[in-house]
């Protein structure tokens, strides 16, 4: 029976090639958009590459402060003092890293000036993130303690400043806004929340030590747990620590809150403005994404319902014959749904190839710097699941409607 369903489906698809092509195009376009979106989400939030340990680290990115009676509110990145004094001593964690947010700097080289994104990080940063070292070495705690003027470049910046192999950059000196750094390492390009930058230097290379006394500033903290299961405890611990932090001006800012968030939580908190409460709003954001995807699928699905109804109506005589010879309504409905799901699965396979092409283009077009996004098995699985759901969504209604055709009317070619 299934072989016959396949045979009939193939014949039906080939009967009206243009119609089939339009159907496929509709499916492919929808699925490509959904799968590119899913791939980007997967890359952003799943542990991978340089942030391969992100399933067991949390980040503190923002400090929420309120003036008395909640009259004034401020959200600002944490300062080094907050990380060093309150978070670093935290028990029950593997390590806590401090790193600045990326800022634009001018790198002077003979007569050339290059605009690069720079971070200053402590030695723990290099142990929390899994940078792939292409040449040289990574900064150590000793470098930080000694305030050594050393820098690490990413591959693109190393190539740009010192053409040739990554090794060519080692030992070279660069002038960053009047400070001279010796390049000691080159790492692979990385586009991740905590890793994105062109150049890194130890925190102690700041021109002044003022940063040490600042509770708020331009840092973020990465808290690495020993096990992923420790994360809920660490969240509570950080929230408790936040309640005990006293601002330098406690009358102005008596209330301070900050949260240790996963990447999804952080993204959701920013999106939902939930800076003042423990709930990041991730549930709402995920539900919103799911609803948006469903609506996005529903619109072309409705279009496909119309197209399918038209296509099936052309086959009412065949439906009448099949009924006359013993097909039940449910057998016919299953046949018509299978045809549609097969078409959608074929569309899904084409869409997968097209998605890989779109992602390769996104990487090469440099719209998002250092983007590296792959179509992995999970996305492939999701893609085929989406295709099946799409096939069911757009096939069930016309199939049900047509399977209930009265055989006498169907044989006469009427509805």
């Amino acid at each position: 029976m299934f072989r016959n369903y396949l045979l009939t489906a193939w014949k039906v698809f080939m009967r009206r090639k243009l119609f089939t092509a339009i159907n496929l195009l509709c499916i492919v376009l929808t699925l490509v958009v959904l799968m590119v979106f899913a791939s980007l989400l997967e890359t952003a939030f799943r542990p991978s590459g340089v942030e391969g340990k992100s399933d067991r680290f949390l980040q503190v990115y923002m400090v929420h402060m309120e003036s008395p009676n909640g009259a004034g509110r401020m959200n600002t990145p944490p300062g080094f003092k907050l990380i060093d004094k309150y978070l670093k001593p935290m028990p029950g964690v593997e390590r806590v890293a401090a790193v600045t947010l990326p800022t634009s700097v001018s790198v002077y080289q003979d007569r050339n000036v290059s605009e690069l994104k720079m971070r200053r990080a402590d030695a723990d940063y290099w142990k929390v993130l899994d940078f792939r070292l292409l040449a040289g070495r990574l900064p150590t705690a000793q470098d930080d303690a000694a305030g050594r003027m050393i820098a690490v470049l990413n591959a693109t910046s190393a190539r740009r400043l010192f053409p040739g192999a990554p090794k060519a950059a080692l030992g070279q000196r660069i002038d960053v806004g009047g400070q001279v750094f010796e390049v000691v390492g080159v790492v692979e390009d990385a586009m991740h929340l905590n890793a994105y930058a062109d150049i890194w230097a130890p925190i102690s290379t700041f021109p002044t030590s003022d940063y040490r006394n600042q509770l708020t500033g331009m840092f973020s903290a990465l808290v690495l747990a020993e096990r992923a299961a420790d994360l809920p405890r660490i969240r509570e611990q950080v929230a408790r620590i936040a309640r005990g932090v006293v601002h330098d001006d406690p009358k102005q800012w008596p209330k301070i809150r900050f949260w240790a968030d996963s990447k999804l939580d952080l993204f959701s908190r920013i999106l939902t403005f939930n800076e003042d409460q423990p709930d990041s709003g991730a549930g709402k954001v995920l539900a919103g994404i799911a609803v948006a995807m469903l609506v996005f699928m529903l619109l072309p699905a409705l279009n496909l319902v119309n197209l399918n109804t038209g296509r099936i109506m052309e086959r009412r005589s065949e439906i009448g014959v099949r009924k006359a010879f013993g097909a039940t309504s449910s057998q016919l409905a299953v046949q018509l749904v299978i045809e549609n799901v097969l078409l959608c699965l074929a569309g899904g396979l084409i869409a997968l190839a097209a998605t890989a092409g779109v992602l390769a283009w996104l990487e090469s077009a440099d719209l998002i710097p250092y983007l590296q996004v792959d179509l992995n098995l999970a996305v492939f699985g999701w893609g085929m699941l989406i295709a099946t759901v799409f096939g069911l969504l757009s096939g069930v209604l016309p199939a049900w409607k047509m399977s209930r055709l009265d055989p006498v009317h169907a044989l006469k070619g009427a509805i």
């Binding site: 045979l7 039906v12 010879f325 013993g326 309504s329």
Partner: protein, 220 residues
């Protein structure tokens, strides 16, 4: 074999009500060849559809081998159609995308049967109608007479007890019509009950019994 008692059928649309059959009593015996005649629109095809369980009567009862099927559900009726009846239509109703052999196999798809057995029975049916050499052709590659013979092969492949033919020669020239009529007579001789709607008096005279329909009623 089939008994219709007091069967009436009315078609309703928003504005019009058409009485297609009125108080029809008909008994088709096993092994009979019955011809149904009457002017266009008199209800012959409706009667044939009611006999073949394609249409349900508005009133009255239909019995197949003594079993009333009035309360049968969709699936039960479909199974009974599949096992008991074979249909031959005036306009053949072959599926154009399928090869001749696949068209003939169609009724067997709805039975629990392996692909090999289906293929064997379909070949056998095509041999009976003299078309075994055309099994890989598509319907549009055949003449009208050949297409109707394929339709007969499809109707008999499941070895139904009753063949219902709605003007099977209506779209054929006289020679081809004669060939189709010969096949039906032969099948009847082999024991298949045949009920045929026809406008052709000469064809009707070759059957066992002629039933005349006028304004939805049987007339003597």
């Amino acid at each position: 074999m089939i008994r219709l008692s007091n069967v009436s059928k009315t078609y309703r649309t928003d504005k019009v009500e058409t009485l297609a059959l009125k108080d029809v009593d008909l008994h088709v015996k096993k092994g009979e060849f019955v011809a149904m005649m009457g002017p266009s629109g008199c209800g012959k095809s409706t009667l044939l559809n009611v006999i073949g369980l394609l249409d349900r009567p508005g009133q009255g009862s239909v019995e197949v081998e003594g079993i009333p099927i009035t309360r049968y559900r969709d699936k039960q009726v479909a199974n009974l159609r599949n096992s008991t009846f074979g249909f031959i239509f005036q306009s053949f109703h072959l599926i154009p995308d399928l090869r001749v052999i696949d068209n003939v196999e169609l009724p067997l798809l709805y039975r629990k049967m392996g692909a090999g057995e289906r293929r064997r029975l379909a070949r056998q049916a095509l041999e009976k109608v003299g078309l075994s050499a055309r099994m890989d052709h598509y319907p549009n590659q055949l003449s009208g007479g050949q297409q109707q013979r394929v339709a007969i092969a499809r109707a008999i492949v499941g070895e139904p007890q009753v063949l219902l033919a709605d003007e099977p020669t209506g779209n054929l020239d006289s020679k081809m019509g004669e060939e189709v009529m010969d096949i039906l007579l032969k099948l009847n001789e082999e024991g298949t009950t045949v009920v045929m709607v026809t406008h052709d008096e000469r064809e009707a005279r070759r059957t066992n019994r002629i039933v005349r329909v006028f304004d939805g009623q049987l007339v003597a």
